[in-house]
C-alpha cells in the first residue's frame, strides 16, 4: 500500500476531475452543460499531464547559459516532453470546443431549450 503523498493526492483529485467531467457528459440533460462537462474532462486530462511533467521537478525547463556543464542540471526541472504534448492537445481541445459551441448556436435557433430529448425528437422528425 503506497503512503499518501501530496503528489498522489493531487493525482487522485485530477483523475476525479476527469471522471466528474465524464459523468456530467452522461448525466446532464442540457446539451450546453454537456459541452461544458467535456471541457471539465479535458481540464482533468491536462492537469494529469502537467502533474506528470512535474515528477522530476517544477522549475521551468529553460537552458541557463551560466551552467558550467550540460550533464549536471542546476535545478530540478520539469519534464518538457509531456508539457509540449499537452500544449498541442489544449489547442485541439479549444478548437473543438469552439466548433461545438458554433453548432449549438445553430441548433438553438430551432430548439432553444437545448434539452437532449427535445433535440433527439426534433432530429428524428
Amino acid at each position: 500500500m503506497p503512503s499518501l503523498t501530496p503528489a498522489l493526492l493531487i493525482e487522485a483529485l485530477v483523475l476525479i476531475t476527469a471522471l466528474a467531467g465524464f459523468l456530467g457528459l452522461l448525466l446532464r440533460r442540457n446539451l450546453f452543460l454537456k459541452v461544458l462537462a467535456l471541457d471539465v474532462m479535458s481540464t482533468g486530462v491536462i492537469g494529469f499531464f502537467v502533474l506528470l511533467a512535474a515528477r522530476s521537478g517544477v522549475r521551468t525547463p529553460i537552458l541557463v547559459a551560466s551552467s558550467s556543464s550540460a550533464s549536471t542540471p542546476v535545478a530540478a526541472f520539469a519534464d518538457p516532453v509531456p508539457q509540449a504534448v499537452i500544449l498541442t492537445a489544449i489547442v485541439i481541445g479549444f478548437s473543438i470546443q469552439a466548433l461545438l459551441l458554433v453548432v449549438i448556436t445553430h441548433l438553438a435557433q430551432r430548439e432553444p431549450s437545448l434539452q437532449i430529448e427535445a433535440l433527439e425528437e426534433a432530429a428524428e422528425a
Binding site: 483523475l15 476527469a18 465524464f22 457528459l25 452522461l26 454537456k34 459541452v35 467535456l38 474532462m41 479535458s42 486530462v45 494529469f48 499531464f49 506528470l52 515528477r55 516532453v81 509531456p82 504534448v85 498541442t88 492537445a89 485541439i92 481541445g93 478548437s95 473543438i96 466548433l99 461545438l100 453548432v103 449549438i104 445553430h106 441548433l107 430551432r110 437532449i116 433535440l119 433527439e120 426534433a122 432530429a123
Partner: protein, 488 residues
C-alpha cells in the same frame, strides 16, 4: 528517401490549402494526391521492407512504413479517388475537394505514425475533417448528427490521452512498444479510445446513424476508410502487445455477431450497410496478418455500395422488389454485395478465407456462422429486378459512374494483391476445393436464412441503442469491461 516520404505526407495538406486559393484546380489536385498515395501503397506492397523514421530526436515523431499499411494506403487512395470521380469536376462546392484532401492526408498520417501522440493528433484531424464533411448547416438533423460524432470522438480521445500519459509514466516514451509494459488501466483507456474511433461493438453505437445520415459520398468515405484510421493502429498496438491478442479476438467476434443481428433486422438500406460495417470491421481487427486485406476488401465494396445508393429511388428495402434498377446500378451493386458475402474470385473471399486459416476451431465456427448472417444481409440487395428496356427505348441519360467502375475493377484486381508481396503460398492455399465448396455453402445457407427472415422481420423489435446517452454510456461500459477482461 526520408525527404520523399515526408513530402508525400505533407503534400495533401499543402495542396488542400492551395486549393482554397485556386478552387478551380482543387479537383485535379485532390486526384493527384490520391495518385501519390496509390503509388506509395503499391511501392510498399512490392517491397515490404520496413522503413522507420525518427524525427526530432528520441522523444519526437516516429513513422513506420511497412507491408502492413500498404493495403490501407491503397484503400484510402482508391476510395477517395472514386468519391471524387463520382462527384464530378463541375460541382459547385469547392470546400469538398479541400476537405477530401485534408482527410486523405490525415488518414495517411494516422496509418504511418508510430507513436501515441502523433496518432492522437492525426485522429483529431480525421475527426474534424469528417465532422465538416457531415455537417450541412441548412439541415438540423445533419448538424445534430455531426455534433454527436464530434463529441463522442473527442471524449474517446480524451480517454486515449489519459492512457498515453500513463504509458509515458511507466515507459518514459510515447512509442507503441511502451504499450506492452504498461498497466491494465492504461491499456483499457487506450483501447476505449481506439475502439470508439474504429466503431467496434458497443463503443461503435454512434456509427450506424452517422454513416446513414451523411450524404452518400461522405458515407462512402466514412465507412470505407475513416474507420480504418482507428482500426489499423489498433491492430498495430495489439500486435506489439501479446496480452491483447485474446481480448481482440473476442471483441472482434462480439462486434461481428452483434452488428450482424441488427443488420439482418434493418429496414433502411444505408443503415443496413452501416451496421454491416461494424460487423465487418470486427472481423478485420481479429488477426494482424489479414487485417489489411480484409479492410481493403470491405472498404472497396462498401464504398461502392454507398455510392450506388445515391442512384436508388428509395432507401426503404421493403419497396425494393417493386423497384427496377438500371443495369449500371444493379450489376455493380450485386457484385459488391457478393464480394462482402465472400463469393470466390472477389477480394472479399480471399480475405475471409485467409482469416479462417489464422484461427482455432471455435473462432472459425463463429466466423462461419457470422458469414452466413452476412450473406443473408447482402442477399437483400439482390431484391430489386434489373430494368428491362423495351426495343428502341433510350435509357435515361446519366453520367458514366467512373467512381463505381474504378472500385469494381479494384475489387476484381485485388485478388492479385497478395501475389505482389512475398507470401504467394497463402494465396495458393486459399483456392482449394474444400474452401471453395465451403464458400458456396455459406452463400446458399445465407440465401436460406434470408428467405426464413422475411416473415419474421416485422415481428422482432430490437432496442434503440443509439441515443446520445447510450453512446457515452456504451463507452463507459466498454472501459469497465476491458479492465475486467484484461486483468482476468
Amino acid at each position: 528517401m526520408n525527404g520523399l516520404i515526408i513530402g508525400w505526407l505533407l503534400l495533401p495538406f499543402l495542396l488542400a490549402f492551395s486549393s482554397a486559393l485556386q478552387p478551380k484546380l482543387g479537383w485535379w489536385m485532390a486526384l493527384f494526391c490520391c495518385g501519390t498515395t496509390l503509388a506509395a501503397g503499391l511501392a510498399l506492397s512490392l517491397d515490404p521492407q520496413p522503413i522507420l523514421i525518427q524525427l526530432v530526436g528520441p522523444s519526437g515523431v516516429s513513422l513506420l512504413l511497412d507491408g502492413f499499411i500498404a493495403p490501407f494506403l491503397l484503400l484510402n487512395a482508391l476510395v477517395s479517388a472514386a468519391v471524387l470521380l463520382e462527384r464530378g469536376r463541375s460541382h459547385d462546392d469547392p470546400s469538398f475537394c479541400l476537405l477530401v484532401m485534408a482527410l486523405l492526408g490525415s488518414i495517411n498520417s494516422a496509418l504511418v505514425c508510430h507513436d501515441l501522440i502523433s496518432l492522437y493528433v492525426a485522429l483529431e484531424v480525421v475527426s474534424l475533417c469528417a465532422f465538416l464533411l457531415i455537417a450541412d448547416r441548412h439541415k438540423f438533423r445533419s448538424m445534430w448528427i455531426a455534433l454527436r460524432y464530434l463529441m463522442v470522438g473527442s471524449t474517446a480521445l480524451l480517454f486515449f490521452l489519459i492512457g498515453c500519459a500513463q504509458v509515458q509514466a511507466s515507459h518514459g516514451s510515447f512509442s507503441f512498444e511502451g504499450v506492452a509494459q504498461t498497466t491494465t488501466g492504461a491499456l483499457a483507456l487506450l483501447l476505449v479510445g481506439l475502439l470508439t474511433k474504429s466503431g467496434l461493438f458497443i463503443s461503435g453505437l454512434w456509427l450506424p446513424r452517422t454513416h446513414a445520415e451523411a450524404p452518400a459520398e461522405v458515407s462512402a468515405l466514412l465507412s470505407g476508410v475513416v474507420i480504418t484510421a482507428g482500426a489499423a493502429p489498433l491492430v498495430r498496438i495489439s500486435q506489439a502487445t501479446p496480452s491483447l491478442a485474446t481480448a481482440m479476438l473476442w471483441l472482434g467476434l462480439a462486434s461481428a455477431g452483434f452488428a450482424v443481428v441488427f443488420a439482418l433486422l434493418e429496414t433502411d438500406v444505408k443503415r443496413l450497410l452501416a451496421w454491416s460495417t461494424v460487423s465487418q470491421i470486427g472481423l478485420a481487427v481479429i488477426s494482424p496478418v489479414t487485417a489489411g486485406l480484409f479492410a481493403l476488401g470491405h472498404g472497396l465494396a462498401k464504398a461502392c455500395l454507398f455510392l450506388l445508393t445515391r442512384r436508388c429511388p428509395s432507401r426503404q428495402l421493403a419497396s425494393w422488389p417493386e423497384m427496377p434498377l438500371p443495369r449500371s446500378v444493379a450489376l455493380p451493386m450485386r457484385l459488391a454485395a457478393l464480394s462482402i458475402a465472400g463469393c470466390p474470385l472477389l477480394v472479399g473471399y480471399l480475405a475471409k478465407e485467409q482469416l479462417q486459416q489464422q484461427l482455432g476451431p471455435l473462432p472459425v465456427l463463429l466466423v462461419t456462422i457470422f458469414s452466413v448472417g452476412t450473406a443473408a444481409v447482402y442477399m437483400r440487395l439482390w431484391a430489386s429486378p434489373i430494368q428491362r428496356l423495351a426495343a428502341g427505348q433510350v435509357p435515361a441519360a446519366s453520367p458514366f459512374p467512373w467512381g463505381v467502375a474504378l472500385l469494381v475493377v479494384a475489387l476484381v484486381l485485388g485478388n492479385g494483391l497478395p501475389l505482389l508481396g512475398s507470401d504467394s503460398t497463402l494465396w495458393l492455399t486459399s483456392f482449394k476445393t474444400g474452401s471453395l465448396l465451403k464458400a458456396l455453402g455459406v452463400l446458399l445457407a445465407g440465401w436460406a436464412l434470408h428467405r426464413l427472415m422475411r416473415p419474421l422481420r416485422p415481428q422482432i423489435k430490437l432496442p434503440d441503442l443509439e441515443r446520445f446517452d447510450d453512446l457515452i454510456g456504451g463507452m463507459g461500459i466498454m472501459g469497465t469491461a476491458l479492465v475486467v477482461m484484461l486483468s482476468w
